[in-house]
């Protein structure tokens, strides 16, 4: 389900800023901000970057024929995050704390040791955990200056706007239906001043 198949659920943006004339600049921007696997297997922060739409493991944009079709650029934002199962983590931690108490002959685990046990367990479990992977396809009409992303999540869209700006130094502005009346400024102004139409019994 996405830009190339299935139902389409998109948020649309106007792309503001200077589009580089040379396609090489786009390639550089995409490659420079493409998805990169974190170096450490215990990395728990979110990682994001651009990927090809055809396969999320393809992160090179050198071949323009794979992502630019006339004036349409299609690529995707991949967002990975490792999350530990909270209940399982808590249960393991409890076992570790019990074992520590038994070994050291003490009734309670001091705060500092608790923290160390927690960090150690977190690293062990992160090493064994695969990240949650989300891929959000987008299409960018370079000629008309609009972009549609296949996600309506506010959180995802906020990340997209930041990463897009970081990559291309251009800004994504949400398109509103008021732009459909841009040639009728008096209509748009009046529309904004209108109140809610309510048809309840109180009317």
């Amino acid at each position: 389900m996405g830009i190339l198949s299935g139902g389409l659920s998109v948020r649309r943006y106007r792309v503001e800023g200077q589009l580089p004339e040379a396609r090489e600049a786009l390639i550089t921007a995409l490659n420079g901000n493409a998805f990169r696997e974190p170096l450490s297997p215990v990395h728990k922060e979110e990682v994001m970057g651009w990927t090809q739409v055809h396969n999320l493991l393809d992160t090179s944009f050198d071949d323009i024929n794979l992502w630019l079709y006339n004036h349409y650029a299609i690529f995707a934002l991949r967002i990975d995050k490792k999350t530990l199962p909270a209940k399982l983590f808590k249960a393991h931690l409890q076992k570790r704390q019990q074992a520590w108490c038994k070994e050291s002959g003490r009734e309670r685990v001091p705060a500092k040791v608790k923290e160390e046990l927690k960090e150690l367990l977190e690293m062990e479990m992160l090493r064994q955990t695969l990240p949650k992977v989300a891929v959000h396809e987008l299409v960018w009409n370079l000629q008309e200056g609009w972009l549609a992303v296949h996600s309506q999540s506010d959180a995802v869209n906020d990340k997209l706007r930041k990463h897009f700006h970081r990559s291309f130094s251009m800004v994504l502005q949400p398109v509103t239906p008021l732009e459909w009346t841009a040639d009728l400024p008096e209509v748009a102004d009046r529309l904004l001043s209108m109140g809610t139409t309510e048809l309840g019994d109180g009317q």
Binding site: Y69, Q152, L178, A188, M194, G200, G202
Partner: protein, 180 residues
Amino acid sequence: MNEEKDELLPGHIASDFYLWLWYRSETGGGHLDLGEGEEVDFWVDDRISFRTPGEQKVSAVMTGEHPGGSPEARAALAGGKVLRDVRLALKREDREYMVTLKGPLIEVSGAKLPGLVKTGDTAEILFERMFLYEELGLMLRGLFRRFAQLRTSDQWERGVMPQLTAWAHGQAEAEPPQDA
């Protein structure tokens, strides 16, 4: 983002637009000449959801065949609820689209495009889908413009509101409105 959305377009404008689409499709046959030879047929498909004014979460949902004709849907209106989302079918020439118009920014959600190219060349699929997506946008733009012009005219208060209110309360038979 929610606050930003409301700044971009206050939520009640979208709700009024959805209401007008529903009302038009029920009483006016759902056919509009958008000018310059552009015509569109539209009708509420299989879902309408409501919210309480001032809130964003769904407070009632009507689904199934022709939910727009159900007494429950109109009772929700008469009870003071406003529309949040509407699943709409649109037809232009022989191409039929289904789309949920969602939230204050009138976003396109779950759009079924009448594409013919399903597999094969990426470029061919992309160009067809973009043509259809743009055509869907063209129809929605035309409908919104018509609504906006009517909503900001005197005709809204004088002609449309009395009809809408009567319709919501089940007090009037469906009559094709003059200019609603």
